[in-house]
């Protein structure tokens, strides 16, 4: 099958990214499961997987970033990767936008955030829609929303799992950062936590009991700072995984 695909159009890679792989491990398994469930034939790089370079780029290590982009391109080529699916908005944005800038025409791999893949599967009837049972609110991750213009896909997925979305005052294009990005979580933890706590308050104002997001960093960071509201990553809404 792999060889056949190589001839036809190359491999689809599921790239969880460092944060999901090493920290939010519980999400990785679930994402793998759902991809299989909707019939996506994918490969993973496991130990061969390298950081996409987002933290290096954001911190200003531009040469390191360029090098990582080149190394990753080589790894992907060696594995005949034609399409990347990732659940991490930072990785997705880095591959899609920053790699094109850094590598130019050399970079011709299709990049999809997993929400785009899952939304398509819902449309195709591969994921069954559930009855609405509960209210939920959604935090647009900056790199997913403002960064890549992906606003509706995660919302469709949430609805499919039986939730009604009660929007925050600041959402979609106007979403308010969780405070963890850009290296702030590690460089300025106190600041990062204060921002997250304010975001949590905004979420609580909607009256929802669950705050859902679709990014491993937003998820971990908001969860760490949450009180009186449960934080869930999008994939955790799928009860049967």
């Amino acid at each position: 099958m792999k060889i056949f695909e190589k001839i036809l159009g190359g491999n689809t890679l599921y790239y969880p990214g460092c944060l999901t792989k090493f920290v939010a491990k519980e999400l990785k398994e679930k994402y793998e499961k759902i991809l299989r469930k909707i019939g996506i034939d994918f490969i993973e790089l496991s130990e061969l997987e390298k950081c996409c370079g987002s933290p290096a780029l954001k911190a200003g290590y531009l040469e390191d970033f360029k090098k990582l982009a080149e190394e990753n391109l080589k790894i992907f080529k060696d594995h005949s990767v034609k399409k990347i699916i990732t659940n991490c908005p930072a990785c997705a944005m880095t591959f899609k936008i920053e790699y094109s800038k850094a590598l130019g025409k050399e970079w011709n791999i299709e990049v999809l955030h997993i929400s785009q893949v899952l939304e398509k599967a819902i449309k195709e009837g591969k994921i069954k829609k559930k009855e609405i049972k509960e209210k939920i609110t959604f935090h647009d991750p900056c790199h997913l929303g403002r960064g890549m213009g992906i606003f509706e896909e995660p919302r469709e997925i949430i609805k499919s799992q039986g939730y009604e979305i009660s929007e925050m005052e600041l959402s979609r294009n106007e979403s308010f950062c969780c405070g963890g990005g850009g290296g702030v979580k590690s460089n300025e933890p106190e600041l990062a936590n204060k921002i997250a706590k304010d975001r949590i308050e905004q979420a609580k104002k909607t009256g929802a009991k669950i705050l859902c997001t679709n990014c491993p960093l937003c998820y971990l960071h908001l969860k760490e700072n949450a009180k009186e509201i449960e934080v869930k990553e999008l994939i955790e809404l799928f009860e049967d995984l």
Binding site: G53, P55, R146, G183, N187, L191
Partner: protein, 419 residues
């Protein structure tokens, strides 16, 4: 991080104002029949074109302004700008001033302290008497309540005032009228300058009209990036400044100054100095702007100083003016890197930016501030001004291919150097 966090009280006031602003801005666009993205694109193109040919526009503008009887000075840095102002103010003591970001840029301890300098913008005046710094470029006193202001007025002027905005405004109006009537010099900024020699200044209060017209001498301080091709473009910028600055359709007043006041009413003999300023001086300052152009940061010079980038910035909402230097927010930090020093950019909390892109999304001229911030951090890296945490992160990536370093089976890394 340098500096303190804002109090919960200040944060609440800030949010209230910002959310009201958001609604006003939406309505202002609607009433002007403007679509958010289309108008931004139009403004972006205007500024992009102007900055791409700024050298020739500047030459044209300077010769047209001079032709119109305006004295034009070019200052390469803040020191030169201060010297020019000091020279122009020689022998005079009473100065009135309206809001000017460029004046804030050139100001330093001891500058003009031998003069009596009065702020005429209500917000700035309040900050001046409170001994506080502005907390927002468009809403300088946003962090102060009417009660606090009234208390200070009692202390300073021994006047009992009801703590109501209209009472405070009225008290200041009367007080300032006296100062204005005695003034010899007026200092203001500019919002746009056209290549055919017109200077546009916008305002709501009417104080700039007085500052620019009452005293004998008017001094305008501006960055050269304010120059655009023509009046049509300049008026679009004026409109955008109102919409994005305060959520208004249009400013209450726009002064278009194309020379000193004059009359030819007596036998058609031109006399300079009727009711307006007899002498108009324009100081065009560089102070790092050419460096920004050369280093690929030209987008920063599109800035019209509306302050919109701060309004939804998660960091600004926590640390206020500690986020920035002479100018606030990510724009201010990047500007500090090139007009002051890279060290200053670090001290202005350059590493507090979460790259959330809210500034970019809100900027009327579409300055991709997060992109410029990454680039600036690239300079800091070369200057060895990185944070310890970032150094650990990059070492991990170099050695282990991930930001967390050596990862052990079943263990979760403690520090999340991401993303």
């Amino acid at each position: 991080m340098k500096g303190e966090f804002l109090s919960e009280k200040t944060k609440a006031v800030l949010w209230k104002v910002v959310l009201e602003y958001r609604e006003k801005r939406k309505m202002a666009l609607l009433r002007n029949n403007l679509e958010y993205e289309n108008f931004r694109e139009e403004l972006y193109q205007i500024k992009k074109k102007a900055i791409s040919e700024i050298e020739s526009l500047k030459k044209k503008a300077i010769s047209a302004l001079k032709e119109n009887g305006i004295n034009v000075f070019e200052a390469k840095d803040v020191k030169e700008a201060r010297e020019i102002i000091e020279k122009l103010a020689e022998g005079k003591t009473k100065i009135i001033k309206s809001k000017s970001n460029v004046f804030n840029e050139i100001e330093e301890e001891g500058f003009l302290t031998d003069k009596e300098l009065t702020e005429t913008d209500l917000g700035d005046f309040i900050c001046q008497i409170m001994g506080e710094k502005e907390s927002h470029p468009v809403l300088p006193a946003i962090h102060l309540t009417p009660e606090e202001i009234a208390k200070k007025i009692k202390e300073k002027f021994n006047v009992d005032l009801e703590s109501k905005p209209e009472k405070i405004a009225n008290f200041v109006r009367n007080l300032l009228r006296e100062k204005i009537s005695q003034s010899e010099i007026g200092i203001s900024g500019a919002n746009a300058i056209t290549s055919d020699g017109k200077i546009l200044i916008l305002e709501n209060e009417g104080n700039i009209s007085l500052v620019s017209k009452w005293p004998q001498t008017h001094i305008i301080v501006s960055g050269f990036e304010k120059i655009v091709e023509n009046l049509e473009s300049a008026l679009k910028i004026v409109k955008a400044s109102a919409i994005w600055g305060t959520g208004q359709d249009f400013p209450v007043y726009v002064s278009i100054i194309s020379g000193p006041s004059k009359t030819a009413d007596i036998q058609n003999q031109v006399v300079i100095g009727a009711q307006g300023a007899r002498e108009v001086n324009l100081i065009l300052i560089d102070n790092g702007r050419t460096k920004l152009l050369k280093e690929g940061f030209e987008e920063l010079l599109y800035c019209i100083n509306c302050g919109a980038c701060l309004n939804f910035c998660p960091v600004f909402h926590q640390i206020g003016r500690n986020y920035g230097s002479k100018y606030l927010g990510s724009k201010g930090i990047i500007f500090a890197g090139f007009s002051e020093s890279f060290k200053k950019a670090v001290d202005s909390n350059c590493f507090s930016c979460t790259s959330c892109m809210a500034c970019y999304q809100n900027c009327p001229v579409k300055i991709n501030l997060p992109e410029l911030m990454k680039k600036l951090r690239g300079y800091l890296e070369k200057e060895n001004l990185q944070t310890g945490v970032n150094k650990e992160m990059i070492e991990n990536i170099r050695e282990f291919g991930n930001p967390f370093g050596k990862t052990e089976e079943g263990k979760i890394p403690k520090r999340l150097y991401c993303c």
